[in-house]
């Protein structure tokens, strides 16, 4: 046995003792229960082998096995590697997104995939990982200060570049996830106004669909004037008020334009159904309505594994992908679905907690990014399935069927686990 081998053995022992087993355990739990749900959602009357690759559950099982290989590789690589190569990985990722415009394969109206034989790869699922590395690298550089406009600008550019490439594929759902990095930047010292502005934007956008934007401008004007009159004399926020007001007027004017001219009919319809402007359970609102029926039918304890009746057949389209959570709701009831929600929240909380403990700024920011990406997927996907957000097609991590997302999230998570395992050795 030569020294090189010895080194690997000692390092892997090192990893085994230092990785966060709680996160790994949760990961394993999600992957296994996720696969069982896919199996149940797809399964029809003909009982086929679980390894049947022609069925989605068979394929997913293969993908899970291959992701074990990814985990192994990810854990073997040194933490320094990720920091050093983050820019390279980011550039490759951007190139792979741009390449879609030339080599991409169109699936269901979106050109988000590379087709390699019968296999498709969705680069946007890996771009999140690459962006997390890049932003962590940039923000951890010693002379970067997010109070400075120039640094803010570069940080925003890193985040927005992939999002802007993804939007016209079109895949606005995946692009929306990049808003997660806004929270990361806030954690690293970005002014809270940006977060506020983000919320304001979302609220205003929805309001502007329901009522005429001129009315909103009118109402906000009245409020701001009242506030300006009765405000605390000591407060110096009058200039902020002016900024906000300017922003609202500007935003609403372009929002109106975007809504009418940039969004497609299907997006408009989804928003309008959700906001109650349209009632259409068999048309646009069909997926969501069926999904709520399925979840509602679960009751307290659910119908039991493989016993779901709503989620079988073709009641809920996209059953195994974006709407997988309704199988959980139907077969495992309120107990099962709320347990899942709690466990997933715990999983995110654990990543957040672990990130805060990182001694290296790079690791902390990366971990924080990972947590916020999971948070956004979790929030948007579940909210959509239980009918409190419009239908935005993004997967539920580890649960939704699909190779690219499974691999993307696995790599995302295990890079953090690897970084975390080195935390104790940092002086």
């Amino acid at each position: 046995m030569n020294t090189k081998n010895k080194h690997i053995v000692s390092r892997s022992k090192n990893i085994i003792t230092n990785i966060d087993w709680l996160l790994v355990l949760l990961f394993v739990l999600f992957v296994i229960t996720g696969w069982l749900n896919i199996y149940s959602a797809i399964l029809n009357s003909e009982h086929l082998s679980v390894f049947d690759v022609s069925q989605k559950y068979g394929k997913q099982l293969m993908l899970i096995v291959t992701s074990l290989v990814l985990i192994f590789i990810t854990l073997m690589l040194d933490g320094k590697f990720y920091e050093r190569f983050s820019s390279v990985i980011y550039v490759i990722s951007i190139l792979s997104l741009v390449g879609l415009f030339i080599f991409g394969k169109e699936v269901a109206g979106a050109t988000s995939w590379y087709g390699i034989g019968s296999f498709s790869l969705q680069p946007s699922e890996f771009a999140k990982f690459a962006t997390a590395l890049a932003i962590a690298k940039y923000l951890s550089m010693p002379n970067i200060n997010l109070k400075k406009v120039k640094d803010q600008f570069i940080a925003f550019a890193i985040i927005l570049l992939p999002a802007i490439i993804i939007i016209p594929q079109p895949d606005p759902g995946s692009a929306l996830v990049y808003a997660a990095f806004l929270f990361v930047m806030y954690r690293e010292g970005l002014n809270g106004h940006y977060i506020f502005l983000g919320f304001l934007t979302a609220t205003l956008f929805i309001l502007s669909i329901i009522v005429d934007y001129k009315i909103i401008i009118g109402i906000t004007t009245v409020f701001l004037i009242l506030y300006a009159i009765y405000r605390n004399k000591k407060s110096k926020s009058i200039s902020h008020l002016a900024y906000y007001f300017g922003y609202i007027v500007f935003f609403l004017t372009i929002a109106d334009y975007v809504y009418d001219n940039v969004l497609e009919d299907r997006h408009r319809n989804r928003l309008e159904v959700l906001l109650g402007i349209k009632h259409d359970p068999s048309g646009v609102g069909y997926n969501q309505h069926q999904s709520m029926v399925a979840i509602g039918s679960g009751g307290l304890i659910g119908k039991g594994f493989l016993q779901g009746t709503q989620t079988k057949g073709d009641f809920v389209p996209e059953q195994s992908t974006d709407f997988i959570f309704c199988t959980v709701g139907e077969e495992w009831g309120f107990f099962g679905s709320s347990l899942f929600v709690i466990l997933f929240a715990a999983f995110i909380a654990r990543i957040l907690y672990k990130s805060e403990q990182q001694k290296l700024k790079f690791s902390r920011i990366y971990g924080y990014s990972v947590a916020m990406i999971f948070f956004f997927h979790f929030a948007i996907n579940i909210a959509m399935v239980i009918g409190i957000a419009p239908v935005i097609g993004i997967p539920l991590p580890f649960y939704s069927y699909g190779g690219s997302s499974l691999w993307g999230f696995t790599v995302l998570l295990f890079v953090f686990i690897r970084l975390d395992s080195e935390n104790h050795s940092v002086l």
Binding site: S45, F183, Y186, R187, G189, I195, M292, V293, A294, I295, G296, S297, G298, G299, L300, T309, Q310, G313, D314, F315, G329, E330, G333, F334, S337, S338, V341, I342, A345, I348, A349, L352, E356, Y368, A371, M372, F375, F378, A379, I382, A383, I386, G387, I388
Partner: protein
């Protein structure tokens, strides 16, 4: 606040929101639950019984019979013994495969009809073995049944609603598979007859066996049966009319002048209403549609014929009303009416001594009525003015316009207008002699049998009629429709009718009356024969009559297509029917037999032959 905590706070509140929402969806709100239990629940539509139809003497004309559709729900279909299945319901394997394919392409999760209307035997066999065939079930429905083979034109028929109707039905009453009335009473009284379907839910197990009612019937709705209809038709009279019209074409309408109730409405040739029931309907329908006699065409309501001589009666009344003649006015017939080069021939046979009104009617003198028509119009300064007055009088008898009754079809007929002649000859450039045919019911004027019967009723009533209608009672309560109880007066004074009716009585009673051979022993009738020229072939045989004269109970109009002349077919038919209605039976058995056996088929064949040349 420390920046670290924002993410934790957001995560916590999001989780809480999700759990509250899930609690609401899964525990509190169970409106989603009913929808989701679809698979453990079978919805059986309880079709209502469509209302029955009776004749005026409560003889059942239309009833219902059960039928059983074999339904399929593709997503519940498991591996079954196809051979046994096919044997039970009498279909071939190929047909089975085809039907499965069709059902699956229609919907995977919505039931559809697999085999329409199983025979009683197949239904009985299948029902016993049904548990072996998950995904299949029986849906009971109700079809029409006609115990008496008669009156298809009056009764109409029902059929499944078409997709077109489903799309255009604003009330939302109809669902796929519902029945709807087409034609006749079924159509015009659809809303009363149809009732409302109910729904029953059952709990079924995986083998599709019914386990009991779902939630104790909480979601069930009870079907409301349709209302029964009592028609004004006298089925015995109707049957007689149909028999008399055998091997002839034409229309008969009989009306009770004292109420406007339609006693009989016959269109010949007819057909068995049972042909248009159930799954054989569409095949039979197209057969009937292609049939040369056009049995689906209701001649009683739709065929527009020139009224011929019976129309002279109206011309007499108009002339009396306008004062251009009196009952004593006389015109001598010179073998017809001569005006310049115009010669309207006449075969009245009385050329030596002049006609008064009475003899003109009983011998149907063309000259007399041509002169009175011309006089009625020339009575005014211009032809236009005179003609306008004349046509208004004529229209007051319900001619040339819709009767607005409770029958789903009808025709306006035609009473020519001033504008029509202005267009033809130029304004002010025509005279009554240009359209002298109107005097004798030829020319442009057209009427339907029901209009002619209604006109007869108006004469019988000395100047008014009730809108003819086909329904007497709904659920045994008189319809009491003011449209049908209102007297509609003609523009002719009451006093002018008696002399005209006397002439019509003489048509039967006088030695030289044109319908003397058709007298009914013991009853005094009034009538008028007619022979209408017809460009397509032999003249039509026409007759109107009512009786008894002093208290009219029935007014009738008979058209027999290509029946040569009025007294040959139409008069015997009309009087046989009146006799049957008034006396309950026919004394003139020989005449009845002759008419029933008489056939005009040769005539129709000849005509078809000459037309095809």
């Amino acid at each position: 606040m420390d920046r670290k905590f924002l993410a934790f706070v957001l995560l916590f509140s999001l989780t809480l929101t999700f759990i509250v929402r899930l609690f609401f969806l899964q525990i509190i709100n169970d409106s989603y639950k009913f929808e989701s239990e679809k698979n453990a629940r079978q919805k059986i539509i309880q079709y209502p019984n469509r209302g029955y139809v009776y004749d005026r003497n409560n003889v059942l004309l239309v009833t219902n019979q059960p039928a059983y559709d074999l339904m399929i729900l593709p997503r519940n279909v498991k591996d079954i013994d196809t051979a046994e299945f096919c044997r039970l319901i009498d279909i071939t394997k190929e047909s089975y495969i085809k039907r499965i394919k069709k059902a699956k392409s229609y919907s995977w999760r919505k039931p559809s009809i697999f085999v329409r209307e199983l025979s009683k035997e197949n239904f009985a066999f299948f029902q016993e073995k049904m548990f072996k065939f998950p995904g299949f079930f029986i849906q009971k429905k109700s079809l029409r049944k006609y115990p008496i083979n008669s009156s298809p034109n009056v009764l109409g028929y029902v059929s499944e609603v078409s997709t077109w109707i489903l799309k255009h039905d604003k009330t939302g009453h109809y669902k796929m598979g519902d029945q709807i009335g087409f034609a006749g009473i079924e159509k015009s009284y659809e809303e009363e007859l149809r009732g409302r379907a109910g729904v029953k839910y059952f709990v079924v197990d995986v083998h599709n066996r019914i386990q009991g009612s779902y939630h104790e019937g909480m979601y069930d709705t009870i079907p409301t049966n349709g209302k029964d209809i009592t028609s004004t038709i006298d089925i015995n009279l109707q049957l007689l009319g149909e028999r008399l019209m055998s091997n002839k074409r034409g229309g008969i309408v009989a009306i009770d002048p004292q109420s406007g109730e339609i006693l009989a409405s016959i269109s010949a040739p007819g057909y068995d209403p049972n042909l248009l029931v159930g799954r054989k309907r569409s095949r039979n329908y197209s057969k009937l549609l292609d049939s040369v006699g056009k049995p689906l065409y209701d001649r009683g309501l739709l065929a527009q014929y020139p009224p011929g001589s019976p129309f002279k009666v109206v011309n007499a009344l108009v002339a009396l009303q306008e004062g251009v003649i009196t009952t004593e006015s006389k015109y001598t017939c010179h073998h017809g009416f001569h005006w310049g080069s115009l010669w309207v021939r006449c075969h009245c046979g009385q050329f030596s001594k002049p006609h008064d009104l009475h003899s003109a009617i009983l011998r149907s003198c063309n000259n007399y009525f041509s002169r009175t028509y011309k006089a009625s119009i020339d009575h005014y300064k211009t032809s236009e003015e005179g003609f306008k007055v004349w046509s208004d009088h004529v229209k007051s008898f319900g001619l040339g316009k819709f009767l607005n009754n409770d029958l789903p079809t009808g025709r306006k007929g035609l009473v020519p207008s001033v504008e029509m002649y202005d267009k033809q000859y130029g304004k002010g450039r025509w005279k009554p002699t240009y359209n002298i045919s109107n005097a004798i019911g030829q020319g442009e004027i057209l009427v339907t049998p029901i209009q002619l019967a209604n006109m007869t009723a108006a004469i019988a009533n000395h100047g008014y009629y009730y809108t003819p209608h086909i329904v007497k009672k709904i659920n045994n309560i008189d319809i009491n429709n003011s449209d049908f109880t209102k007297k509609r007066f003609t523009t002719i004074d009451k006093k002018h009718f008696q002399p005209v009716i006397d002439g019509m009585v003489a048509v039967f009673e006088s030695e030289r009356g044109t319908a003397r051979a058709s007298r009914v022993p013991g009853i005094i009738l009034a009538g008028k024969t007619g022979t209408a020229q017809n460009p397509h072939g032999q003249d039509h045989s026409i007759f109107i009559a009512f009786g008894p004269v002093d208290n009219p109970k029935i007014a009738i109009a008979v058209f027999v297509e290509n029946g040569y002349w009025g007294s040959r077919w139409a008069a015997p038919i009309a009087t046989l029917m009146i006799e049957k209605y008034l006396k309950g039976e026919i004394s003139r058995k020989k005449l009845e037999e002759r008419i029933v056996n008489g056939s005009l088929l040769d005539e129709y064949q000849k005509q078809a032959h000459s037309e095809s040349k």
